[in-house]
Symmetry: D2
Subunit: 283 residues, 4 copies
């Protein structure tokens, strides 16, 4: 079923829901799902309406034109998205295959509703896996002293593929600040700890050293601050003194796959709105 997703955030005040709902009802929109949230501290309002496309008596172009007035009145950031127009997604990886394989299978089996258009990696290991799924595989080496050039090449590929979203599926190079800014809100990473614990390198080693009884993973938007961007989803698993670092790596992979898949799904269904350094996730 084709639907339109109307996603809004704006300063909070009385009458937003009424105005939007009236607008939708006047055009006979049948609402499949509606979510609101008000951040009381920030006095900011968030809203997502999923509308049955065939119910509404407006084309998408007409909707955009007519809704613009209302949006301006409430100083809204807003978009309306046609669910049948899939996002272009580029996956990036290094050596570890579990997140890449997991996302590719979800896509292959129809669970992830997007166009995965390419895989970019700084190793050759995963070429066959990508190619079996019919995807171009771009090997971009990240040699010392040549990282800026490598990222320039990555940037070109992202532009060339008209990627709406870039997923760092255990891609182990740190995105440069300018690229983070250029792609703000479009790059999703999976970090292998329950942030803010164990940011940076070798989080499972850090966790083992500290003797925690839980380990986890965090799916977040990439920003210039390493491992400090807005969190979309987190997952944890219980461990014990019996677990070696290797056990933790193995068990943690389950968390990484789950948190990344859920976070990406929410993102491509336009369920995530960035709110400063946090997120509103309507699920």
């Amino acid at each position: 079923m084709k639907s339109y997703r109307l996603v809004i955030d704006c300063p909070d005040r009385v009458g937003i829901v009424a105005a939007v709902s009236r607008f939708l009802a006047e055009h006979n929109a049948s609402i499949v799902e509606a979510n609101h949230h008000c951040d009381k501290q920030a006095k900011w309002f968030f809203m997502r309406n999923e509308i049955e496309a065939q119910s509404i008596e407006l084309s998408l172009a007409e909707f955009k034109q007519e809704f613009a007035q209302l949006a301006e009145q409430f100083s809204m950031n807003w978009k309306i998205v046609d669910s049948s127009v899939k996002q272009n997604v580029v996956l990036m990886a290094s050596r570890e295959s579990h997140c890449l394989a997991d996302l590719l299978h979800r896509w292959h089996s129809g669970e992830l509703d997007c166009n995965i258009v390419a895989v970019i990696a700084n190793h050759e290991h995963l070429r066959q896996m990508a190619q079996w799924h019919g995807l171009p595989y771009h090997y971009v080496p990240f040699n010392k002293g040549e990282k800026q050039a490598a990222f320039d090449q990555v940037r070109e590929l992202i532009l060339q593929y008209k990627a709406d979203t870039v997923v760092l599926a255990r891609f182990m190079q740190i995105f440069p600040d300018e690229l983070c800014k250029e792609l703000a809100g479009q790059v999703i990473n999976i970090h292998h700890s329950f942030l803010p614990s164990f940011a940076g390198a070798k989080p499972y080693h850090q966790a083992h050293e500290r003797g925690v009884k839980l380990i986890g993973a965090t799916c977040h938007y990439v920003t210039g601050d390493l491992d400090a961007g807005p969190i979309i989803d987190q997952e944890i698993v219980r461990i014990s003194h019996r677990d070696s670092v290797e056990d933790m790596v193995r068990k943690g992979k389950e968390c990484e796959k789950s948190a990344l898949a859920r976070g990406l799904r929410s993102h491509i269904e336009d369920r995530v709105i960035i709110n400063g350094n946090k997120t509103v996730v309507f699920d």
Copy 2:
């Protein structure tokens, strides 16, 4: 902060949200929290709006009068509840103290926003606990052959205390069918298994016998069908072959306390709407 809770269910059609939102906006209602749900199979719509009481330019009486027209137009079941008018809650128990003690402490510390008005029990064991909390304690013995008389006495007490809600905090007698009907949607039970597994007596023994690796508890409305009423919340905990029945009883108590406390909280905040033999829980 005082609020009004407007809780609605009605046949689904276009324009419900618009009509309700417009009504609220026209009276300047500031919406604290809004939730919708549409049961596509049943073609039934569910809605809960929490409204800042001081924002709205209507008394509760005026609201009821004015909203009635709109409600009729959409064939709504509806209520509007003043959050400052607390529900009267009667707790019922047998010998086991953990659920009773848990609820009483939550109430004592201000976490449960209701008036607990009395404890009824078919044993004397928990009298002191109730009395320390300043509550009357009614011992109603359930001897063989005298159960109907005992339930008549229970019913009288429930009426006398004008109980809005009755909580069976591990009360181990089966409510008779007529009383279930009379108090439909008002009696909350905690069953010590993840229903529908292990309904009936001695669920931990059943679970031990079957060798499950998870045990749990279920908070549900009481109906004439034993352990088969609408489920409000469930909780589980992982176990292993090392756990004896006694260990399972101990670990399961955590599930019972959690599921009951969460379910009761949802109920007294008018977040639960019964939908046939299921529930919509807006949390």
Copy 3:
């Protein structure tokens, strides 16, 4: 690191651990991991010792010979397994790909320490997936009236591949009683509910109908009683009234993959001992 796994069960009495430990120490065995369990009801003792292979001053043949006396003395069921001799595993599937893809990737990436030797399926859908992993794919149709013949063919293939373990990775045909008996303790199934709830067909539909707030999956040994064999592992996920049957199917798949992968891993590491209709799982 190569290790030997000594797995024992026997009637409980004083001195078993002492006798076994002394035997191991006398041959200089370095114990990597040791687990005991006593089923007090059944008065039965369970034990698993993982021994560093290079530490012990006995060949496997010598060990078997020397230990046999001690084993007889305590009426032990026992085996000693060389961790470097991998089990042969046959996977069986129908249309659904998620469990098969998950197990194949775990195997491909070295996480599952076994030889997957073939895939048998009653549909053609998953042939390419199996073949990409270099595995023979046997399509065995299960037409009405020809099921016994089909199972005869399955049995032949299992024998031909010298399968130690057969995994029903969402294989949707019911194993006949005789085959269950012939392969007792060797066939692992994943059922898509937290058993004993919702045994049989369409468990997610059953769960949706009942309005539960948790769904799950159960990994168990196959016996002649449908969905009633010894449980190895279970997993659950929280759901709400918002989840349709389709959502439940999607969320449940995560449980199925996890419970099956964990259960199979425990099985191939000889961590599972069947105890009547239950299991002891040393993890």
Copy 4:
């Protein structure tokens, strides 16, 4: 059933289990539960045996004398504990009642097998709760500039009550370094975050600020490094953008109660062995 708990840690080498098991078998000890662990990095071995007291043909005094030789041979740290001799436990609190009430009820209902001997608090709020449980309540004010004197008084009370264990049940004053050293391994704290995230003050505010999707609690031994002592247990709960700091405080309390109760139970059953800045927890 009375049991003896033999708890050992020592440098790892071949033959420890054999020697201990032989010793136990020679004295006819029936082992209720046995656990081993080897820290491969530290090359250190940990062991706990729970022995049916009536089965063993030695008095506790005789056991201590006879076992001492074996212990010396393996350079063991060791103790043997009579399960019927309960630990003396002092609870410390501030204003928040949930952890105190939870522990007191578990003790009152026989779930916590120890002698709670007194409550010490730096506020008067919880006096009645303690007294209803028949416990002396010591109010020790912690005024600015007089904290050392207050801790001197706390120390005296701990000595006076011959406390084996001190539980900081949301006691909000930081133990001085010398007292931490004097009571090393005896003081258990509950911190209201999943450490190492959000150490220090106001962890729920920190968590809200950071926008995490999980909050938690950590039960750990108190050391001179604030919130950095060996972790015994942790618990988490899922939250969302809808949760205010107040909601997080409320939901977090569940984690605090669970993690503290489980951690304390493990401690008083001699299941926890400190291993540097980590713990081995045999459960």
